[in-house]
Symmetry: C2
Subunit: 216 residues, 2 copies
């Protein structure tokens, strides 16, 4: 298909596609003639992946480039590529406060307690520690032991989710896994926010007026 067809198939405007091409996020199409390139299904999938990372994952361009490099590098085994993509999905941050170090120790204990195979230098450890520090600084005295009871369920769900990844070619497996990671956690966050809005309506909107304005 031409670039107009790629635009239609992916729901992304031609000018945005050209921007992705210029930024090196999207592979060039096969050159057919001067100013004519042919795009295929791989391009459609790639555009969807970029959109998910940009709009749902809110990643920066440099982070997206790292994720895509991991997706593309056929020389890297899929589990290692998955680790690189996972790391790129965690924004780099300055982490050297005493609170952060305390949180990081709690994360290490948590990972060990649940026997999880998470790389020692995986960025997701810092992501969890960041969230802990934010909770503490915001007045929540959260202990990771709170999650001990739910972790076996989360592990079982992740195992099932990964079984849903097709035994397909490596590029498809990587793309499906990355989109699944990002989109599924946005979905879970949305469910939680809905539940919080419901709980807030139950707790704070007791008057008939508020009730009718906010009930469904």
């Amino acid at each position: 298909m031409r670039i107009a067809g790629l635009s239609e198939a992916s729901g992304v405007s031609i000018s945005t596609l050209k921007y992705y091409l210029r930024e090196g996020l999207l592979h060039p199409g096969d050159a057919r003639a001067v100013n004519q390139a042919e795009y295929g299904e791989g391009h459609v999938r790639r555009v969807r992946l970029i959109r998910a990372l940009l709009e749902l994952g809110k990643l920066q361009l440099a982070e997206i480039r790292r994720v895509l490099a991991a997706v593309d590098d056929e020389g890297v085994a899929i589990h290692d590529a998955f680790g690189v993509a996972q790391d790129a999905m965690v924004p780099a941050r300055d982490r050297d406060s005493p609170e952060y170090r305390r949180a990081f120790v709690a994360v290490e204990e948590f990972v060990r307690r649940h026997g999880m195979r998470v790389r020692q230098d995986a960025q997701v450890r810092g992501m969890l520690a960041d969230a802990l520090v934010a909770m503490w600084s915001g007045g929540w005295d959260l202990d990771l032991r709170t999650f001990d009871a739910s972790m076996p369920r989360i592990l079982a769900e992740a195992g099932q989710e990964l079984e849903g990844v097709p035994d397909d070619d490596r590029a498809v497996q990587m793309e499906v896994t990355v989109i699944g990671t990002i989109a599924y956690e946005v979905a879970l966050a949305a469910l939680r926010r809905m539940a919080l809005e419901h709980a807030s309506a139950e707790r704070f909107a007791l008057s008939a007026l508020s009730g009718s304005a906010h009930g469904t």
Copy 2:
């Protein structure tokens, strides 16, 4: 305290604090003398809230301003303010594809099915629909019925979480709720990513070499 004290108490550099002041995110301190302002605990809490929204929530400045306006407007009842803050935490997006409309209908049915008090125009509905569209376009045939079994648990947890909000003044309640929303979902996303890395190690990293390189 002076601005140097605020910097120390919040872990944010003086130049960043000045930036927050210029952008109107942080209220000016009480003027004591020319070039001297006094800051208090409210300022420390506000700086922590801004950091959580910026760094964990990855919100844009305009979105953060809307959240803070809801936190500050004492004339708005807390449940309504919570709704405004919730809406501001969902990035605005162009949503008019047929897939989006199909996803939105699925979200409406889901909210109704679980009897949730979620405003008809709550942005979180669009957030869930976005995630669904991304899953579909990424090759996951996800149906919201998948979440039917876990929704009662998510609702119960949200109720408990809201009980943890102190019966304090309105500003503290709003700040605690907003930080809790953002930080808790980052924590849950991190737990899920760890579980996925573990599952990937179990599925894809079967060789002794990968196993020893990635096990904890």
